[in-house]
Symmetry: C2
Subunit: 337 residues, 2 copies
C-alpha cells in the first residue's frame, strides 16, 4: 500500500494552506477562482481521493449500513439485492455479514460492526438465536435498527416482513379447495417465527374448515432437503397417511417431492404439494410445484427505505410494521380440478 495523496500534499505543492485546499475542493464561495482551478487541476492530476476514515471520524458517520443475515440462500440473497439497490442510491455502502445460522457468529459480527463502523443495522436473526442482548445493545447505543424477514417480536424497531400467516392460509385454503382432506405440514425449527406463523395460518385455516389437524402431521425439521426427504418418507409410511403436504420452503418441497416419487405416488392425484418462496426452480421440475411467492426483492427494498427514513430522524417509526402480502402461484403439484 502506497502513501496516499492527501490534502496536505496538494497544499504544499501549491504553497497554500490545507484549509484553502479543503475549501477549494468543496467549492466554497470564499476562494479565488484561480486558486480553485489550480487545486482542482492538481488534485485531478494526482488522483486525489478524500480519506473517508478521517471524514467518518470527524463527522461521526460512516455512510455504511451493517446487514446481518443468517445465510445467503435464494430468498435472503434476493432481499439483500433489494437492500443494496436502495442503499446505494441513497449514498450508503452495505456491509453484509452472514451469521451462518449461528448465534455466536451473529454476536461477533454485531460487535465488530458496532465499533463505529456502521451508522445503523439491518438485521435478520439466525434460527439459533434465542437471546437478544446483542440486538438490545445496538439500541442501547441509540443506533438505528431495522428488522426484516426473521423478526423478533419483543424488540421495538421498524419491522418489515411477509404476512406469513396469510401465506400459510393461502396454501392451506388452496389445498382444501382442491379436495385434500389430510394435510400435513413440514415446518421449520421450532423457535423460528416465520415458521410458526406459516403454521399458524395452516392451523387456523384447517380449523375454519372444520378439519382436524393430526398431531403426527405436523413435523418440525431443518431448512434442508435431506431432512425434508426423510420426514416425508416417514409421513408416507405412517398409518394415517396425509393426502397433501405443505412445506414452508421450496427446498423442503423438493425434498418431499423426491420422497413422494420414490414411493411411486403421483402428484397431484394421490398427493398434493405446496411450497413456499416461489424459487425459480419450482416451475422447472415435473410436476411444477405450487408455491407462495414472498416478494423478497420488494421486502429488501422496503427494508432499506424504512432504514433510510429512520436515519433521517424518523423515530416515530419505532413501532411501525410493514407487512407484505404473499401470493400463491398454483401449479400442477396441487391442481386437481
Amino acid at each position: 500500500m502506497e502513501k496516499q495523496i492527501t490534502i496536505k500534499d496538494i497544499a504544499i505543492a501549491l504553497n497554500i494552506s490545507t484549509s484553502t485546499v479543503s475549501r477549494a475542493l468543496r467549492d466554497a464561495p470564499d476562494v479565488k477562482a484561480e486558486t480553485k482551478a489550480a487545486v482542482k487541476a492538481l488534485s485531478e492530476k494526482l488522483d486525489y481521493q478524500p480519506n473517508r476514515l478521517a471524514l467518518s471520524l470527524l463527522n461521526r458517520q460512516t455512510n455504511t449500513i451493517g446487514v446481518i443475515i443468517p445465510n445467503l440462500d435464494y430468498v435472503l440473497s434476493t432481499m439483500v439485492k433489494g437492500i443494496d439497490e436502495v442503499a446505494l442510491g441513497a449514498g450508503y455502502t452495505v456491509m453484509v455479514c452472514q451469521s451462518d445460522e449461528s448465534y455466536g457468529r451473529e454476536m461477533v459480527n454485531t460487535k465488530r460492526l458496532l465499533d463505529s463502523l456502521v451508522d445503523g443495522f439491518i438485521v435478520s436473526v439466525s434460527s439459533e438465536t434465542k437471546v437478544f442482548e446483542h440486538i438490545k445493545k445496538i439500541q442501547d447505543k441509540k443506533i438505528p435498527l431495522v428488522l426484516f424477514d426473521r423478526i423478533v417480536n419483543n424488540i421495538e424497531a421498524p419491522k418489515i416482513r411477509l404476512d406469513n400467516i396469510d401465506g400459510g392460509r393461502q396454501a392451506t385454503e388452496h389445498l382444501i379447495e382442491q379436495g385434500y382432506k389430510k394435510i400435513a405440514i413440514l415446518a421449520g425449527p421450532e423457535n423460528l417465527n416465520i415458521s410458526n406463523k406459516r403454521m399458524e395460518g395452516y392451523l387456523q385455516t384447517l380449523k375454519a374448515h372444520g378439519l382436524r389437524s393430526d398431531k403426527g402431521h405436523i413435523i418440525h425439521c431443518d431448512f434442508n432437503q435431506q431432512y425434508a426427504y426423510e420426514a416425508t418418507k416417514e409421513l408416507l409410511a405412517s398409518k394415517n397417511r396425509p393426502d397433501a403436504i405443505f412445506t414452508i420452503s421450496d427446498r423442503m418441497a423438493i425434498g418431499a417431492m423426491l420422497a413422494i416419487k420414490e414411493k411411486g405416488l403421483s402428484m397431484p392425484h394421490d398427493i398434493g404439494l405446496v411450497g413456499f418462496n416461489n424459487e425459480p426452480i419450482v416451475s422447472l421440475v415435473t410436476p411444477a410445484i405450487s408455491s407462495v411467492e414472498m416478494y423478497a426483492f420488494e421486502i429488501g427494498k422496503a427494508t432499506a427505505k424504512a432504514f433510510i427514513e429512520m436515519m433521517n430522524g424518523g423515530n416515530d417509526m419505532l413501532d411501525q410494521e410493514i407487512i407484505i402480502k404473499p401470493k400463491l402461484f398454483v401449479r400442477n403439484s396441487s391442481k386437481r380440478n
Copy 2:
C-alpha cells in the same frame, strides 16, 4: 446515535491520563496492577469499545477486505461463505459488494471501497466488464488484489480458479464414453472466460476423439433457465439433432431438461445431459442430472488464504495461479451403461 464512551471518559473518571488508560487496556507492562484493574473494571462497566475508525486512521489499515462479485447465486454465495470463514478467522471483516453483472456498478463499488475503506480487494469481475481501468487503479495504489473464479488474464495478481478446461473435458469425455456421438454445448456469454474455457475443454475432447463439432451445436446464451430452455427447444427441433447436451451451469441444465421432457424425449436413452456446478438441486430432480462439482467453498477458502498471505508481504505471489480440479458426478441423466 449516542455519544460513545471513549478512552478519555475513562481517563477523566479515574483522574489519570489517556495514555495510561490506553496502556492499561493493552496490558502494557509498565502500569501498576491496581491501575490496570481500575481501568478494566470501569471500561467493563461502561461497556467501552475502542473506536475502530480512529485506529484505522492511525494504523492505516482497516482490517477489512472488499469483495466484489457479480451476483449472489449459489456458486458465488458458497465461495463468499468460504472467504468469510477464513477471513473472519484471520481477524478481517468482509465487505461484500455485488455489481449485479453491471460494469458501471462494479466501478462505483470499487471506487467507494478504495477511499481508504479496505485493506485489499478480492474480485470476481462481472460478465459485462471488458475494460479494467478500475482494477488497474487498485494496483496503481499498491493495494493487495486477488482475483477469483471469473479472473482476468492480463492482470498480474494471484488468481484462484477452477480448471475449467478440465471440467469441460470431463463432461465431454464422459458423454463420449457413454456412446453419445452428437454432443451440443450450451455456453455462456461470449466474452466470459469461464464459459470459453469450459467450451475449450469440450472442443479439445471432441477433437481428441475424432468427433466433429457441428457449429450449430455450439450455442451462447445467458446464465438463465429461460434462455437455456428456448435454446434447447431450437436444438431439438433442428435437422441435425444432438444426442447429448453439455450445459456450463446447472441452471441451464434444468432449463434444457424442461425442454427435453416437453419434447417427450427420455434421458439418458434418447439424449444425455451434463450440467456444471453440482448444485444440490441436480440430485433432486428426475432423472438426477450429472454435473461437474467445482468445489466453490474450497475456492473461496483458498482465495482468502492467498489474500492473507499476500497481506503478509507475499509479493512473490503476484504470478501465482491456484487451480482447483473439478470432479464430475455421474447421475442418471447421462449414465447409459
